[in-house]
């Protein structure tokens, strides 16, 4: 093997966009082997393992941090446009360097720790927040064969590690010794515990149908097309659609996004658990929230939107990993769209929504999925499944919302 051969392989790799990341990884490994041959030693397998791991870690972190940077400016752009403003357009072309400016600002800001704060915990909290967020992306399948760790208990792993962020929010809120912070922390925990249930339940439904907890297996189960054009994604089934919406809302709540941003609800709690954080620590929280949001939406893509599968058969020429990121971008856009539209829930309403609406609906979706599974995937199964989710939806919707609150139940009198 020599360097020229390696160089020659680059155009070859570029010709196969489908497996571009995989081939790139192989190229790096070969490059390391070649470097070893230069020194005159046979590169032992553990070095290659190490390099392999490092490449994957660096790639995932780099991709997610770049996405975070882009998202932070894109979100503001979309939000601004939805509000008929221009959004950031002063730093660089179309404001694209805004994240850089933000980063510099965050890094150079004074790091303030309240005098009464529990300093150790106050320091640890952002780290504890970031670590699970950065671990989560490892198990998402980004493309065919492109998964960092193909765990057989992947979904479980996701929820188990994701539980760490709750602890971090509690640490942040409690250590600040600020009433707003502690209220925000309490809200965060209450909210996360409540929404963990529908979140896990809707994932369980998919695991039930796909028969596996492995993300790759779930994506593979959604491959293929009905009638030659209709993708077999779970979101296009009645139960899958309901579970997907439930998962989406639970994911909003888990990542503290509007309309479930009660823990940092700025109109009541100033900034909740983030009130006493500034500078780099605040940036870490911010980063962790966004990366966590990407991760949980990546899981949504994996579970319901067919992961890296192309939506239509003739679109398969686009590499699979592109599809994953396109779907992720669409979800990110929808998050901002929701944020631009909705007011925030109140704490008790949010809990009621979780326990009285989301949880029963997730059970209904579970039954519906079971019916779909056993009644066959034809029209009959489709119909039964649809009825099984539609009836609870309208019933719960009526009893939870319409019965209590409706604009139609008000009368206004006029006097001349």
């Amino acid at each position: 093997m020599n360097f020229i051969d390696l160089l020659k392989r680059i155009p070859e790799i570029c010709k196969t966009p489908e497996t571009l990341p995989l081939e790139g990884k192989k190229l790096i490994l070969d490059f390391v082997t070649w470097l070893g041959s230069l020194v005159g030693i046979a590169v032992p397998p553990w070095v290659l393992t190490l390099v392999n791991i490092l490449v994957v870690i660096v790639a995932i972190i780099a991709v997610f941090l770049i996405m975070f940077a882009l998202m932070s400016v894109w979100e503001r752009k979309i939000l601004a446009r939805a509000q008929n403003r221009y959004g950031p357009n002063r730093v660089g072309p179309w404001g694209l360097f805004q994240p850089v400016a933000d980063g510099i600002k965050m890094l150079t800001k004074e790091d303030i720790v309240p005098r009464n704060a529990d300093k150790v915990v106050h320091f640890i909290a952002p780290i504890v927040m970031l670590v699970p967020a950065l671990i989560l992306p490892v198990l998402l399948p980004y493309g065919r064969g492109m998964v960092a760790i193909d765990l057989s208990v992947g979904i479980l792993f996701f929820f188990a590690v994701g539980a760490g962020s709750e602890v971090a929010i509690f640490l942040a809120g409690w250590s600040s010794r600020n009433k707003y912070s502690i209220l925000g922390a309490m809200r965060a925990i209450a909210q996360m515990i409540s929404y963990e249930l529908p979140l896990v339940m809707s994932a369980v439904i998919v695991a039930l149908v796909a028969g596996t907890l492995s993300p790759t297996g779930i994506v593979e189960a959604q491959g293929g097309y009905q009638f030659g054009f209709f993708p077999n994604w779970f979101v296009f089934t009645p139960w899958g659609f309901v579970a997907c919406v439930l998962f989406y809302f639970s994911a909003l709540a888990e990542s503290n996004r509007s309309p479930f941003d009660l823990p940092e609800g700025e109109s009541e709690l100033v900034a909740g658990h983030l009130t006493e954080y500034s500078g780099f620590k605040y940036a870490l929280f911010f980063m962790a929230e966004y990366v966590g949001m990407f991760a949980i939406n990546g899981l949504l893509v994996t579970l319901f939107l067919g992961g890296y599968q192309a939506p239509l058969p003739f679109l398969t020429f686009i590499p699979s990993w592109c599809w994953f990121f396109i779907k992720l971008a669409f979800l990110a856009f929808s998050l901002v769209w929701v944020r631009a539209t909705m007011p925030r829930f109140r704490i008790d309403q949010m809990m009621q929504f979780a326990w009285k609406f989301m949880l029963p609906m997730s059970f209904a979706a579970l039954f519906s999925a079971a019916a779909w599974h056993y009644a066959g995937r034809g029209l009959l199964g489709w119909g039964i499944s649809a009825v099984l989710v539609a009836i609870p939806y309208f019933a719960l919707g009526y009893f939870c919302f319409t019965r209590h609150h409706s604009a139609d139940n008000r009368r206004y009198l006029f006097s001349e």
Binding site: F159, A160, A163, V167, I189
Partner: protein, 190 residues
């Protein structure tokens, strides 16, 4: 020099050594010790959380991946949170301290602590004795197979061999949920 380098390289680095599980075990014990000893309740609970995480990792290191993740999910995600919540909801009031009947006996507290510690130590000694010196423990233990527990097998086992316990657990959990909700419900002020 070059030979030494070659030797280091030649070590079986890609196989995790047997003793690696001692790291999470150590973290776990430290966490548990801190959880027991610290005065600040929140710090206790946080150390307990650390201990739980390390215990989960230890389970994984021992090959029980599924149990490890369940441990993380249940203990870190739920139990630790419940404990933290309970600590915040039950601040130690001044009233409680002053009305403490045991306060009248100055030494009783220290005495109780010493007694508890003695009992715990005795239990520990007897347990360690049983583990290391009892003839039963010295019986030949088969060398560790590469024991793994595939998720599918666990699932099938749950629904085939242990279906009744599973259902009983489900009922128990439901009962616990309702019971806890009823217990914690605030009584209507008359």
């Amino acid at each position: 020099m070059h030979e030494l380098f070659q030797k280091i390289i030649a070590l079986p680095w890609d196989q995790a050594p047997q003793w690696l599980f001692l790291i999470p075990a150590f973290v776990m014990l430290m966490g548990a010790a801190a959880a027991v000893m610290l005065r600040n309740l929140i710090h206790c609970a946080l150390c307990l959380t650390l201990s739980f995480i390390a215990l989960g990792v230890l389970f994984m290191a021992l090959g029980a991946e599924f149990v490890g993740f369940v441990q993380l999910l249940v203990y870190v995600g739920a139990v630790a949170m419940l404990i933290l919540f309970a600590i915040l909801l039950t601040p130690a009031g001044e009233v409680a301290a002053s009305n403490n009947p045991l306060r009248n006996f100055k030494f009783s507290r220290a005495f109780a602590a010493a007694g508890g510690a003695t009992v715990a130590l005795l239990v520990l000694v007897s347990l360690l004795g049983a583990i290391f010196f009892s003839p039963h423990a010295r019986a030949v233990v088969p060398p560790a197979q590469a024991a793994i527990a595939p998720v599918k097998a666990i699932g099938e086992n749950l629904l085939n061999h242990t279906l009744l316990p599973l259902q009983a657990t489900a009922i128990l959990l439901t009962a616990a949920l309702i019971g806890a909700a009823l217990l914690a419900k605030e009584e209507k002020k008359s």
